[in-house]
């Protein structure tokens, strides 16, 4: 049982909580926020995975440091953060639009409009 293991379990449960939120919240805004929580969980897992890597560090004198971070997941996850942010903002704009049309944010009530 080391720290990394505990943190990883906690982050995975953040992802699970986000998923549960997307599944069970009926309010669209809450759904979108839950989706962001899920995204944040995965991003943090990436950051965590960089910390525990045991590959050769990108520094001149390896003997002077105790632990290093793997730069690749961190560099890569920046892109994912930007994508997550842009999708989030796009959805929020259109959720605003939807609330103007339907005067509700309840997904079930919106869906009922087309039930045959």
């Amino acid at each position: 049982m080391n720290v990394i293991f505990i943190v990883r379990i906690m982050l995975l449960s953040v992802v699970a909580i986000g998923l549960a939120g997307v599944l069970f919240k009926r309010n669209l805004i809450m759904k979108v926020i839950a989706m962001d929580i899920m995204n944040t969980g995965v991003i943090s897992l990436f950051v965590l995975s960089a910390w525990q890597s045991s590959r050769a560090p990108v520094i001149r004198d390896p003997s002077s440091v105790i632990s290093t971070a793997d730069p690749v997941p961190q560099a890569v996850i920046l892109t994912a953060i930007v994508i997550g942010f842009s999708i989030l903002s796009l959805i929020v704009v259109y959720v605003m639009d939807l609330s103007r049309y339907f005067h509700t944010l309840d997904t079930e009530r919106i869906q009922e409009k087309w039930k045959r």
Binding site: M35, A80, I87, L98, E108
Partner: protein, 481 residues
């Protein structure tokens, strides 16, 4: 003569950078897209066709170690060719004001993004490009600005994004396992990350229960957009899935089961559907099942599917009603019926119309247990398209109208595809004709005008995500960890 690396870079420029540049410039004068964009699409289709015919394969890594790996092999070129042809056909079909001007720059960007997905050999790059294509497709779905379109676009984006978060989790696992994002690592990857990757791509690709956002989104969007979505954007999920399935044996098992379930499930809903565009959308789901059933050949059928499904959506958009019962009462004019008839024959697998070669090769390579199910799905396809074929036709009208640019274009490219595939066996031809005839016979005997309203609860956004999650658990349960 260019070096292989040079040629690879040149194709990246032509296939990805050129559409992006054109798209960005077009934002200032969107309307001119109608005359400029066909040349962009034409150049990428010509390049892909040349490379396919000469059988060239490039593999390049952009900027050193940990760089983005691209692989341009037969599979990638086939998908790129499909992308170019479908976009070209759709643009040719557009009249002056059938879409708002903003559609053109979005289409150019989407074209480049889809090309980038088809060429990448890098798990993370696939993620980035698919997310970008999701955003662009979202903006295209809501182009008509109707409330229902906005709602289905939001649903699409939420479902797709949750799927891609799962995919990202799979990427992370793959990276920590092997220290690289290259798809080569898939060969020895444990099963759990493979399941996550498959699930994420399945949501985008409209596979089985994960793709149930598709009928709503493709049914509600403008017809030209539906043609692009069903023709190309669904394949941005399918192409990486085919790659994964051909690299990893554990993925192959999962995908071959998913394929059969998808084909049956999609066709079952399509047979009873009354709304013509939704029916076509359900067929997109079921046809992805055919593509995935045999990952080595699937790309050829994907090319044919892109063409005839795009054509069918465009022709269906010209009808004045979407309700099949209503259409049956009123009848449709001959000029509108002919393209629908030809498209329906192509999707049913009649020899000579593009759909035959790919389908026959798939049927000849199937696993033993898959065969009966896929025949049922093929029969269901013929049965369901009989609904369109047997709509009463009002004769007359100017037959010249049938020869509009896009009709000729789609017909010629489907026939050319059949010739290029060059696969013909009498046994397969007889089998597919028998399937079509028996499908029509079943329709005439049993189905005439009976439409059942099937429960659609599984298409609610909560249920799509819940079912996605349950499918992962199902994969773990059936195939083990």
């Amino acid at each position: 003569m260019l070096q292989p690396g040079g040629m690879g870079l040149l194709s990246v420029f032509l296939l990805v950078m050129l559409p992006f540049l054109t798209g960005i410039i077009l934002f200032s004068r969107p309307r001119s897209g109608r005359s400029v964009l066909p040349f962009v699409y034409l150049s990428s289709s010509i390049l892909a066709a040349l490379m396919l015919l000469s059988g060239q394969t490039f593999s390049i890594s952009l900027e050193g170690s940990f760089g983005v790996e691209l692989l341009m092999d037969q599979v990638a070129w086939t998908f790129v060719l499909m992308n170019g042809l479908v976009f070209l056909g759709v643009t040719l079909s557009l009249e002056n004001d059938s879409l708002p001007g903003i559609a053109f720059p979005l289409m150019a960007l989407l074209h480049g993004t889809a090309n980038a997905v088809f060429m990448s050999y890098d798990l993370f790059n696939v993620f980035v490009c698919i997310e970008l294509s999701g955003i662009l497709a979202f903006l295209l779905i809501r182009l008509g600005n109707k409330p229902r379109q906005v709602w289905s676009a939001v649903q699409y984006l939420i479902a797709g994004n949750v799927g891609m978060i799962l995919y990202l989790l799979g990427c992370l696992y793959a990276y920590t396992w092997s220290g690289s994002f290259s798809m080569d690592t898939l060969k020895e990857l444990p099963k759990l990350p493979v399941y996550l990757l498959i699930t994420g791509l399945s949501v985008k690709g409209g596979v089985f229960l994960m793709g149930l956002w598709l009928p709503e989104a493709h049914g509600e969007a403008e017809s030209a957009v539906s043609a692009l979505l069903s023709g190309v954007i669904v394949k941005t999920g399918i192409a990486p899935l085919l790659r994964i399935a051909s690299l990893s044996s554990s993925a192959l098992d999962v995908v071959s089961v998913l394929a059969v379930l998808t084909a049956l499930f999609g066709v079952f809903y399509a047979v009873f559907e009354r709304d013509i565009k939704k029916m076509l959308a359900y067929h997109t789901i079921s046809q992805t099942g055919f593509m995935l059933a045999l990952p080595g050949i699937g790309h050829l059928y994907a090319l044919a599917h892109g063409l005839f499904k795009g054509w069918l959506f465009l022709s269906a958009g010209k009808l004045d009603s979407r309700d099949l019962k209503e259409l049956k009462k009123r009848g449709i004019s001959l000029t509108l019926w002919i393209p629908i008839f030809l498209g329906a024959l192509a999707i049913s697998g009649i020899p000579g119309l593009g759909g035959f070669g790919g389908k026959a090769m798939i049927f000849n390579g199937l696993r033993e247990w898959q065969i009966p199910f896929m025949y049922i799905a093929a029969l269901g396809t013929c049965l369901s398209f009989a609904k369109l074929i047997f709509i009463p036709v009002i004769p007359g009208g100017q037959l010249r109208k049938v020869l509009s640019t896009h009709n000729v274009f789609f017909l010629v490219s489907l026939v050319a595809l059949e010739i290029m595939t060059g696969y013909f066996r009498w046994s397969s031809a007889v089998k597919s004709l028998l399937l079509v005839v028996s499908g029509w016979a079943v329709y005439q005997l049993l189905m005439r005008g009976s439409y059942r309203i099937l429960p659609k609860w599984s298409e609610d956004i909560d249920h799509i995500i819940g079912l996605t999650f349950l499918t992962i658990l199902g994969m773990i349960g059936v195939f083990g960890l």
